[in-house]
């Protein structure tokens, strides 16, 4: 199916790859379906999480381990149950990036990672209780 995207114009996507946030994300509770778009490579550090419903709605998402190899969020079983996650291998953990004009000031939100169940395609943004995780972690400057 074809969808309009923020970064790439009209794209052809595989409907099987659509991920569903059953409760949306904080601030975007009414948007449920997204697709991950990258430049094709599975190991791309940065990707777009594009709404399939609204072309203007897209998040830059990152693999947290690219920037913080020690990142190990503690997620409650009940939250994993919501996305029917049974094994860690099925989980794809991503964080949302905010990329300002000066891209070196880019930050990632380690406090509220996205967990996608690759098998069921269910996903959830999980707000962690641990206050040590920053909502605005600078990735290039504080290294």
């Amino acid at each position: 199916m074809d969808i309009s995207t923020k970064a790439f114009g009209v794209c052809s996507i595989d409907p099987e790859e659509i991920v569903t946030f059953q409760n949306g994300m904080p601030g975007f509770e009414d948007v449920h379906q997204y697709i991950l778009l990258g430049n094709g490579a599975e190991d791309t550090a940065l990707m777009w999480l594009q709404s399939t419903e609204n072309p203007d709605l897209a998040f830059v998402v990152a693999r947290p381990e690219t920037f913080r190899s020690e990142y190990k969020p503690k997620i409650k079983q009940a939250e994993l149950k919501e996305i029917k996650l049974e094994t860690a291998e099925d989980a794809l953990v991503l964080v949302i990036a905010v990329v300002p004009e000066d891209v070196k000031k880019m930050t990632i939100n380690l406090r509220a990672p996205l967990v996608i169940n690759r098998r069921t395609k269910l996903a959830k943004q999980i707000v962690l209780e641990d206050e040590n995780f920053s909502i605005r972690e600078a990735v290039f400057e504080s290294k």
């Binding site: 970064a7 601030g27 079983q77 009940a78 300002p100």
Partner: protein, 77 residues
């Protein structure tokens, strides 16, 4: 909203499993103790609001060139 009056040391119970106790009262500040099952998520509302604002900020940005960022990551500058 249900409004209850409690004194220091008094507790309310929610759904049989969650207990909220007024631990201390000092002027404008009230310390609450919360006893809940491990899988119950407890957050200060400001945190949730901050996440919501950050999500909105993430969407407001222009369309950054991800390849350019990848290049900065590789080269370190």
């Amino acid at each position: 909203m249900l409004v209850l009056t409690r004194k220091k040391g008094e507790t309310i119970i929610i759904q049989n499993g969650i207990e909220i106790t007024v631990v201390d009262v000092k002027g404008q500040q009230i310390r609450l103790g919360i006893k809940a099952p491990e899988d119950v998520s407890i957050l200060r509302k400001e945190v949730f609001d901050a996440i919501r604002n950050e999500n909105a900020a993430a969407v407001r940005q222009n369309t950054p060139d991800l390849d350019k960022i990848a290049h900065i990551m590789k080269s370190g500058k």
